[in-house]
Amino acid sequence: MELAYYPGCSLKASSEIYDAQCKRVLSAIGINLHELDDWNCCGATSASKTDDYLAIAMPARNLGIADASSYAELVIPCSACYSRMLVVQKVLESDRNLLNEVNGELSKKVSGRTKILSILEAIRPSVDSGDLAKSVTRKLEGLKPACYYGCMLTRFPYGVPVPDNVDNPQGMEIILKTLGATPLDWSYKTDCCGASAAVNDNETSIKLMSKIMKEATARQANCFVTTCPMCQLNLDVYQEKVRATYGITRSMPVYFITELIGIAVGLPPSDLGMDRHFVDAMALLRELKLYG
């Protein structure tokens, strides 16, 4: 399967490992990613807090580039980018005046023909066809992840069709079960980790994360799995502080879904950049004899 690919800014900086994993791991299961030519920042939530027009215009240029490409579908692994692009596509579809105004400035016009996919939607067909199960060389036995979706995969600031259950999404669980892991039922999978406040209001963010960690540890999860680079970084880099502040004894590695697929299909952890986590991402894999 050939897909257009929008990495977004954080996959070119602090979450560079996620960019590399997406390309490497998805190609290992037969999905080839083609990065959009000269894409720009989507504006994330900051644009909509600053300027209504910017919040539309920034994603719109990327949508135009995708619509002009030869691919029918565009995968966006970062939850914030995914949410903004999906929302703006919907807004422009329902507001012709705004669409014409934006298109007037664009060399590649928005037509709205591109289907936008989250990384879970991009992987799903290979689960349903059985291809993913066939690629698995090492079952993730003993891995009990708390699948953490965060805010932006299922809740949107506009009425867009939500591709999973809003309160109890299953996209990650379905993939992880195919890999032989035992994802747990838990209550905080779509609660906010406060990543947007991590820098400017750290106490609030730490408090929100403490609730998520307490619930995940109480359910005996041994790791988090996420698709969002902000959630991953936040839960990973501040976990020690969360534990110290709220007296949580256990630490839990925070995996990107791509890392676990990579391990299950036999890619070496060093190729996945798994040594670049803050909470040791390798110890649990060693303990469960999932690599080496």
Partner: protein, 212 residues
């Protein structure tokens, strides 16, 4: 802020109209069931002002309180309020609108750091077309430092720099900080496109079909 809400019809009409038009949200549909309030993750931090009460303030024309309260600065944009609302009111979009109105009315932000954060993000992204995290954080810390100096809060500046330097070092050690500067080739087109931003409050008054 007083907790007893008084009704001023002249002010109510203009405030509610403006917020509804800019946020695209029908505030009249709110029947104060408080599902938003019970789901709000920062509810413990915002004191009296929960999403339902914010809506009530606007409907009653309390402009000052609506533009200057903890909720608009503590909101983490998780969109839980909108997902829970039986009438499809997306309070997070009202909060975003009020943040912009507060800025236009020169109301000093209750949390200057939050304002500096989003302002720095957009300034950095506008300049290169892509967000470079180092530039973003540099701009943000500069704003905080200048504000601290202006107010002679040296201890605060010191604490801020100490904690950010600690974070920076950890990121650096784990290879999660990057010095390659990202920019787009189509900068001219990008600048032309976004130039209109800030010149007017657009066009988003129309809300697409509400969530199924």
């Amino acid at each position: 802020m007083t907790t007893a809400l008084e009704f001023r019809p002249d002010q109510a009409r203009s405030l509610a109209g403006e917020v509804m038009a800019r946020s695209g949200q029908n505030l009249n549909a709110c029947y104060q069931c408080r599902r938003c309030a019970s789901g709000c993750p920062v509810g413990e931090e915002t004191g009296y002002v929960t999403p339902d009460r914010l809506i009530r303030m606007i409907v009653l024309g309390k402009r000052e309180s609506a533009l200057d309260n903890p909720l608009i600065w503590k909101c983490v944009s998780c969109y839980t309020c909108g997902a829970r609302c039986p009438n499809d009111i997306m309070t997070a979009r009202i909060v975003d609108t009020l943040k912009k109105m507060a800025k236009e009315a020169h109301v000093p932000p209750l949390s200057p750091k939050v304002a500096a954060f989003h302002g720095s993000f957009i300034a950095a992204a506008r300049r290169s077309g892509r967000l470079n995290e180092l530039e973003f954080m540099g701009r943000y810390e500069l704003k905080n430092t200048l504000r601290g100096l202006w107010k002679l809060k040296f201890a605060e500046i010191f604490d801020e720099h100490k904690s950010q330097a600690g974070l920076g070092l950890t990121m650096l050690r784990k290879g999660r900080m990057h010095f390659r500067f990202q920019k787009i080739k189509g900068k001219q087109e990008f600048r032309r496109l976004i130039r209109k931003g800030g010149e007017r409050a657009t066009g988003l008054s129309k809300s697409p079909a509400s969530q199924e």
